[in-house]
């Protein structure tokens, strides 16, 4: 097992390198650069000499591979992701807190999805084709069909209108720029439920369907009958055998939850005014703020790869059928 993990980690290195190249190329692909979009937005015209001076200062004249080398060697040797053109600050200053908050929200959302979806999925499968199952199915499809940002607007309205809660953001106004204290953490926890529900709804709906389908497959298998024929009670039987087997595919789903939450929820995060990476990525792509965008894409990719690794290790740990070779 340890060898398996070690080998998988060694394999990560070339993957990460390739991913970093692709991330850099992707942000170079759109025509123009940060200066072009800056000039197009500027009120007065900027003369060519000024443009050239800026271009040189940002290193935009150099060939792509030189720019890439500067960027990646800075990351590896100094943890320096370059400077954001738009914010005029080092990228690393901008992203770490946002990345932390994103992780917190992601983990909460993941926990919410699992805690809600798995029991409902089990119920829905065991009671297949009953009123309860149909009800869950209908509610699930509604949850899947409603766009997250719309749900965000509706829930924000309800929270504001009926509960008088300051909605939007993760903090009450007085805590937004405050240093991390226990009060700030508590304040965050009191705000986090709304984004978690909103971000988790479609995932929950999808996972209910997946869990139901997985479990239905397992419930009809012979080993369930064999265990029943041994005299096991229905409830113990259910959780010990079919549910246990049906959970395995869910573990592999952990891999795609992370990147989806980091990048996919940008619109919802903008609506909710969350200090997460989604809106930051969105802004930086619009402004062609290449080091910021590139670093975010790189981090999302790294999260994906780490998520895959974690789910592979978990799966190898809980499913004896997976051979560690």
């Amino acid at each position: 097992m340890i060898w398996y993990i070690a080998r998988r980690i060694v394999y990560l290195i070339p993957t990460l390198l390739v991913v970093s190249v692709i991330a850099f190329l992707v942000i170079q692909l759109p025509p123009g650069d940060f200066l072009a979009s800056l000039i197009s937005k500027a009120e007065e015209t900027i003369d060519q000499a000024q443009v050239d001076a800026l271009r040189e200062r940002y290193g935009l004249d150099e060939p792509i591979y030189v720019q890439y080398w500067k960027w990646i060697s800075g990351i590896i040797t100094r943890g320096d992701f370059g400077d954001s053109f738009e914010w005029n600050r080092p990228v690393s200053d901008l992203i770490w807190e946002r990345l932390g908050l994103t992780m917190v929200i992601s983990l909460y959302t993941l926990a919410f999805i699992w805690v809600v979806a798995i029991p409902i999925g089990i119920y829905s499968a065991v009671k297949q084709y009953t009123i309860g199952d149909y009800l869950v199915t209908v509610v699930g499809f509604i949850g899947l069909a409603i766009p997250n940002f719309l749900l965000a607007l509706v829930l924000m309205y309800i929270a504001f209108r009926y509960f008088g809660q300051s909605v939007g953001g993760l903090f009450s106004p007085e805590f937004i720029d405050a240093p991390w204290t226990l009060e700030r953490v508590l304040d965050m926890l009191s705000h986090i439920w709304l984004p978690v529900i909103i971000l988790g709804t479609s995932g929950t709906a999808a996972l209910i369907r997946v869990m139901r389908a997985n479990l239905l497959d397992e419930l009809s298998k012979l080993y369930v009958d064999a265990a029943r024929a041994r005299g096991l009670s229905e409830l113990r039987l259910l959780f010990k055998y079919p549910v246990r087997v049906a959970l395995n595919p869910l573990v592999s789903a952990v891999a795609w939850v992370f990147p989806a939450l980091v990048s996919g929820s940008a619109i919802t995060s903008i609506v909710l005014n969350l200090q997460t990476t989604g809106p930051l990525l969105y802004r930086s792509l619009q402004a062609q703020d290449m080091y910021l965008a590139g670093s975010l894409i790189l981090l999302v990719s790294i999260l994906t790869i780490i998520g895959t690794l974690v789910s592979d290790i978990l799966l190898a740990w809980i499913d004896p059928r997976i051979q560690l070779q």
Binding site: S220, K221, L222, Y223, D225, A226, A227, R228, A229, R230, G231, L232, S233, E234, K240, Y241, R244, V245, N248, I318, D319, P320, R321
Partner: protein, 357 residues
């Protein structure tokens, strides 16, 4: 329907010897498309220490009969009529058909007094639990032992069914064993609590012929040592000849003929039984002789023929009778009985009466 089974009731001495008696069992499946009468009036009787073989084509209700006894008929199947009388170890006779299929009573019997092994050893073991944990589970459910004792007994059982290096194999997963070894492991689980009755639902069908013979020998040896009864479901008449004491031939959810193995093989009465026996390839047959086969196919479950269910395929079909009259169960002497109008005696075949209705 006429309560024909009352005539088959045995005398007191025989009764004490009787472990299982199934009377006019009916298990139907209530599907959206209609009712499938998978088991529609089956009678079985099994004595202590004996082997009863249930024979029939695919879809004749053999497996559903077996599952009905353990009350593990999958939904939407239900027992709608009949009795399943089982004599427990404590001497009391209980009707399994009346028990709540999820209740404590039947769970105590499952695995403890009646065990079952299935057709596909590939899928009847959990893919993510060790063999040992599944044997120990059965032991801990039914015997008053500690975990260590259960583990010891599990190793003993694996050794008993001929799995080499039993102690190591306790921690093996089912995918690490061959088909034959998995079926041995299933037998170990089934026999771990020394049941009075083992139901074997085509336990050798999915195995190759050599393994098949090994498993049959194993079941027979274990039966001789423990004195348990075996209800063996198969479509293989060769297997029946080898292991059966009594035989029940089923067709479309009915027992069409039953009796001891000699009378079934040498004095078969029902046209279906005779046709089955003729369909066995013989090694002394001439090269260019075609193998006999029963004409037609088993009808669709929603399309059961009236009268005798076998009449559309029967060579001895009596027009205007077989397609109208449901043949009653006819005792021919000893345990041998048949459901066929060819053998209806005058007083018992209510031919004229039913034809008028």
């Amino acid at each position: 329907m006429q309560p024909t089974h009352t005539r088959l009731d045995a005398t007191g001495a025989e009764e004490a010897d009787r472990l299982l008696e199934v009377r006019e069992l009916k298990t139907h499946f209530f599907a959206d498309e209609g009712v499938v009468r998978a088991v529609d009036g089956v009678n079985l009787s099994l004595k202590r220490g004996q082997t009863l073989c249930v024979v029939g084509e695919s879809g004749c209700g053999k497996s559903v009969t077996a599952r009905s006894i353990l009350r593990i008929v999958p939904s939407p199947g239900e027992i709608v009529a009949g009795e399943i009388l089982f004599r427990q170890r404590d001497g009391n006779t209980v009707d399994l058909a009346e028990m709540n299929p999820k209740g404590r009573e039947i769970r105590r019997i499952r695995g403890g007094e009646i065990s079952m092994i299935f057709q596909e050893p590939m899928s009847s073991l959990s893919p993510v639990h060790t063999i040992g944990s599944q044997i120990m589970e059965a032991i801990l459910l039914h015997l008053p032992v500690t975990r260590q004792e259960a583990r010891k007994r599990a190793a003993y059982m694996l050794d008993l069914v001929g799995i080499p290096r039993a102690n190591e194999q306790l921690d093996a997963y089912s995918f690490e064993l061959s088909g034959g070894m998995r079926q041995r492991a299933m037998i170990a689980i089934a026999l771990a609590c020394e049941p009075q009755l083992l139901i074997a639902d085509e336990p050798t069908t999915a195995l190759d012929v050599t393994t098949q013979a090994n498993i049959l020998d194993l079941i027979r040896d274990l039966q001789q040592d423990s004195g348990m009864s075996v209800l063996f479901i198969t479509h293989d008449l060769g297997v029946v000849a080898e292991i059966a004491d009594e035989v029940v031939v089923m067709y479309l959810g009915r027992d069409v003929e039953s009796g001891d193995v000699d009378s079934i093989f040498h004095e078969a009465k029902h046209p279906y039984t005779r046709a089955l026996l003729q369909s066995i390839p013989r090694y002394d047959s001439r090269d260019n002789q075609r193998l006999y086969s029963i004409k037609g196919t088993v009808p669709h479950p929603f399309d059961r023929p009236n009268g005798c269910p076998f009449h559309p395929r029967c060579d001895d079909f009596i027009a205007e009778q077989c397609n109208r009259i449901d043949p009653p169960r006819q005792r021919l002497g000893g345990e041998h009985s048949v459901r066929c109008l060819l053998y209806a005696t005058a007083d018992e075949a209510p031919i004229n009466k039913e034809m008028r209705t």
